[in-house]
Amino acid sequence: MRKIMALVAAVSLGAPQGAWAAIGCTLSNPAQDLKYLFPEMTSYKEELKEFHSLKNGKELFKNLKERLGSDLDPIYETYETPYTLYSVYKGKAKVGIVHGVNVPGKGGVIQVFLSTDPDSAAIRRFFFQRLESPAAKALREKTFRAQFEGMTLADFYKHDYYAAVEPGAQADKVGRIAPPKLDASGQPDYDASLRGIRKNLILLDLFVYGQRFEPFFEKAQKAMSAGKR
């Protein structure tokens, strides 16, 4: 028996650890995870969103890059990347939306998830699924993550606006976020996490909320262009 096990293991040694996930970002255990986030949940719906299946997909993808304010990874943040959207229901009422994105962290991928209000589009909860980083403990701190609750994409666009016209303004909610205590090695993952939240909110605005925050983006763009001049 020992010999048999030995032989089996010899072949198994180093076998891929299960099927690696696709490049898109999905919850590991949707039913359990969503019940954890929404104890009142009675059902949920899972939808796959892809730019190429959207009307004007190419243009919307270009918009994502513009609104994110940073380059998209040419391999892992492409036009073909699928996104999974979870709608959570209590009876017939939609009580929440959950969506995750992958962003490249310093030493591995970071999966940034948001649960948002289906009506106001405000963040209800921000959390990580995968995060391997020297800053992981600090970034997973509840007090740090709670600062994002109630924010919308408008607050991120307003942050761009205030950065251009009135740096340090009291109304700049994003600017007032207190970063967790990090050493230099954790800073890139903090930055990647903020980028992940913004990317997530932009995608939600495209996929779910009918681009309702566009006026804030346009105002910020104007202010930034004026600032450059």
């Binding site: 048999i4 010899a10 198994s12 391999i75 991928v109």
Partner: protein, 415 residues
């Protein structure tokens, strides 16, 4: 041709009954084809996985693979290792064409979890390799090129922090050439794990093997990270001439090393095939039962059809039909049902192959990567042939029964 159109007409009289009988045969054929596809696919997967290991023979510490198996299945405390000097002792053997030392370690990674209390740990396999000898065993390992991967290269032997990632782990961690990669390693004899930041020097093309999920690093750096500077996990060996005799000779020569086992990969193949043989026998039993049930179903259907047409058969015979004509007609109907079932079942098995594969894989870990169900024209051909033979025998009794009816009695009974 006349018989054929008559048989079709007869079968179409009871469409539902005919369809259900065809479905029964189809189900039995689908099970048989899937089983055949599994046997064929699994053997091919074992061959592929073992061939892609690149070695014919491995020398490893006794018990080491058992520990590895435990670790693969549920995590564990550690692998067993060979002393470093085993390599020096074995490599001079005159029968060896090439040899490569491999150090295998298990690094911790963060598993995904959304819980506030943080994530659980998972692990990844780290192979410490000597690049020239390792690549001579696996010449098919190629570094990816293109945007994000250009400039990829294998690390040098003295490199301390460079790694090459298998295709899948690079994709899973979204790494490119030049990126960092975190892995947490607990050095042997030390209580605390250490987080390492490695630099990705290259990403491998997909191989469809265990290498896709592996992190490769220089053997000395791996041994230093795991604090096992004078240990090895495997000696992978290719012999100049590989046959049973040279293998036995080689084995007896090196079993004298303390706590060492010599394993031929042919043995691994046979053992793996043997391990699933029980499961295959059980599935074969299910397939046989399905075939027998289908056989009974076909006989029943055709007999019912014969009884319903007793008067008609009597009239046919009264009008001059010979025994052979009636026999052929009924027999043809049976054959047609079986052939139709075979076609339906084969199509069903082919379409549902991926589903069957997923179901089989969810039941057990078969220790190989890649597809384990392969439905080939040969498998389908055998299934169709089996169904024709089934029809041949299933049709005998009803056809004999029908052809033996006396015309007057048949007309009276059927009226």
């Amino acid at each position: 041709m006349r018989y054929l159109s008559l048989a079709v007409k007869n079968l179409r009289r009871r469409v539902v009954r005919t369809a259900l009988t065809v479905a029964g045969v189809g189900l039995a054929v689908a099970v048989a084809v899937s089983l055949g596809g599994f046997v064929l696919g699994y053997r091919a997967a074992i061959d592929r996985s073992i061939d892609m290991l690149g070695f014919q023979v491995m020398i490893m510490a006794k018990g080491c693979p058992y520990e590895a198996a435990t670790m693969m299945l549920k995590g564990g405390s550690g692998l067993l290792y060979l002393p470093d000097d085993s390599y020096a002792k074995v490599k001079g053997d005159a029968d060896i064409a090439s040899i490569t030392p491999v150090f295998v370690g298990i690094a911790q990674k963060e598993a995904g979890s959304i819980r506030d209390e943080g994530s659980e740990k998972t692990f990844t396999v780290v192979d410490g390799v000597d690049v020239p000898s390792f690549l001579s065993m696996k010449p098919w390992l190629k570094l990816k090129t293109g945007p994000g991967y250009d400039g990829g290269k294998w690390f040098g032997p003295a490199s301390k922090d460079e790694i090459v990632l298998g295709y899948e782990i690079a994709e899973f961690e979204q790494r490119k050439v030049g990126d960092s990669f975190y892995a947490t390693i607990t050095p042997a004899g030390k209580p605390d794990p250490v987080r390492h930041e490695f630099k990705v020097s290259g990403v491998l093309e997909r191989t469809g093997t265990q290498d896709d999920g592996t992190v490769f690093m220089p053997i000395d750096a791996a041994r230093a990270a795991f604090n096992r500077p004078r240990q090895l996990t495997i000696l992978g060996i290719k012999l100049k001439q590989f046959n049973l005799f040279t293998m036995r000779e080689f084995e007896s020569r090196w079993l004298k090393l303390p706590e060492v086992q010599v394993v031929s990969l042919q043995q691994v193949k046979n053992t793996l095939i043997g391990l699933v043989a029980t499961a295959q026998t059980m599935v074969a039993a299910v397939a046989i039962i399905a075939v027998v049930v289908a056989l009974i179903g076909v006989i029943n259907t055709i007999l019912m059809s014969v009884y319903e047409r007793t008067a008609e058969i009597g009239v046919m015979k009264a009008l001059g039909a010979r025994r052979g004509d009636v026999f052929q007609l009924i027999w043809l109907e049976t054959l047609m049902i079986c052939v139709a079932g075979a076609v339906v079942g084969s199509i069903g098995a082919w379409v549902g192959a991926s589903l069957v594969e997923r179901a089989i894989k969810s039941l057990a870990d078969f220790g190989v990567s890649g597809s384990i169900v392969r439905i080939t024209p040969g498998v389908v051909g055998y299934a169709v042939l089996g169904a024709v033979i089934l029809g041949f025998f299933a049709g005998l009794y009803p056809a004999w029964r029908a052809s033996s009816m006396r015309p007057v009695e048949a007309i009276r009974e059927g009226a």
